[in-house]
Subunit: 290 residues, 2 copies
Amino acid sequence: MHKLAIYHLETLLWIARLGTFRAAAERLHTTQPAISARVREIEGQLGVAIFRREGRGVVLTARGRQLVQDCEPLLAGLESALLEAGNHAGAAGIVRIAAGEIAAATCLPQFASAIGKDLPGVTLHIDLDLTARMLQNVLAGTRDIAFLAGPVASPGLRTAPIGAVDLTWLASPSIAKENRLHSDIPIWSVGEHSPIHRVTCESLKAAGLPVRAINTCNNVEAMLGIVASGAGAAVFPKVMARRLIETGQLAEFHTRPKSQLRFEVAIRSNETDPVVLELFRRAAHLSVAG
Amino acid sequence: MHKLAIYHLETLLWIARLGTFRAAAERLHTTQPAISARVREIEGQLGVAIFRREGRGVVLTARGRQLVQDCEPLLAGLESALLEAGNHAGAAGIVRIAAGEIAAATCLPQFASAIGKDLPGVTLHIDLDLTARMLQNVLAGTRDIAFLAGPVASPGLRTAPIGAVDLTWLASPSIAKENRLHSDIPIWSVGEHSPIHRVTCESLKAAGLPVRAINTCNNVEAMLGIVASGAGAAVFPKVMARRLIETGQLAEFHTRPKSQLRFEVAIRSNETDPVVLELFRRAAHLSVAG
DNA sequence: TCTGATTGATAAGAGTTGCTGATGCACAAG
DNA sequence: CTTGTGCATCAGCAACTCTTATCAATCAGA
């Protein structure tokens, strides 16, 4: 049954549309015996009659009508899929992207919209994940491109910087009004392995404060809500907190960490897929700032 | 591009699912070189690389992933359509039915539900139409079966009676309370060519009333509403008016036409499609009464 | 580092399939 | 009855696909 080719079914549809083998033969730029043979092949493979020979013509049987009706939309879809896949012009395909939460919130929107506009044939599959798993997936070939915060280096990876964003200490206004960090304010940070965590610790040391037990939350967006509700202070990318600052739910400290949060895009160093390379190139030209 | 067979795409899907050519070869009960050849064929037809040879294995390119994802549901649909079409057990297919309005309201519901229950593979396409066009379509092969009222006979048609329903004079209660037709009551009927019209005329004559200008409406359901609103009296199949009689919107006259309305089912006399013949046989065993 | 196992590519031969062009048969219209 | 139309069939030819056997590249483990 699987010996049937696409053109067999296409032949069926054209016979159904035009009514005669001969007309279908002309439409498909072939000869009438070829059409006869194709129909014979289909009927042989399926084991049922699709056409009833009637007078000097043929008409569809009930089964044949059902088959034609069922196949028409499927075939149209298949043709467009193949056409799309075979379309040389421009990049096309599915690119699997991994992103850290912060990168997803800061870099990805503009990247995704730029790709959607410039390369309409490209579909993005984005998964948010932790940095370690992200890199693991890229190395294993499960993901194509990773957007992540903080410098990473690995022999199997090729990376490019895509900009940096300012970090700042934030807390609810009642806490931040003193404009000075002191040891009674609970400190929050994302998990150990995040570059933000490193910056948090360094900033605390620079301010002469002890690096005490630090509360952690592995989701920045959630942590924004926690800190905004008065739970303490934390270092955030300023752009991610912009709305909460504007609405007065968070306020900045005068104390500011020195370093920025730098973003990178990473692919496997032996990547050869032209579409992935093109997207890497475009990502590397992104310039994230704020 | 159309030289591709179903099994080419199926091969693609199995490679994507299993990861290697060898595994796909085993799954598809063939050899690895055959799989290689199929892939080469697909890539040749499409003109793009679907797999990237990497190390001792292969991985999908971005385009390839897109193609696989696009094809998966389409292929599943195609397979089930072909499987359904090739399924010998029982009748299956699309049968095009033409029906007159009255037949549609009286015979078709039970027929359609019986078919739906006994022959789940059969799909019905029902068109309501006027008797003349119906028969024309059946003779031309545009419709397979016709359900219609009144006896028809044509050299190209094969018919079978499927029962009869009682006819009765109806009007709104205020008119019908006299229980006697008289010449001041406007008479309604469906168009000239309907058997109901003939019965109406005969009944009028039998009652000693003149066959005056008769109001017509080519839709019985609409005419029921017209008569129920007090516009006059008309002969209806009693079953079609049952609800309006029960709710008191229509009432019967004592005067009743002698003849019933007989229904028939018709197919082309040289019909050979086994599914159509089976449905004709079943329709002929319908027994409509009321 | 070396060996063995795994994976895909390639080549040659056999079998099959599909197309073409010519011909025959059935049916419909004039 | 003749002509035209439409499908089936046949023979020859070209193309394709499968299989078996072999090769090259890569990776895992000793």
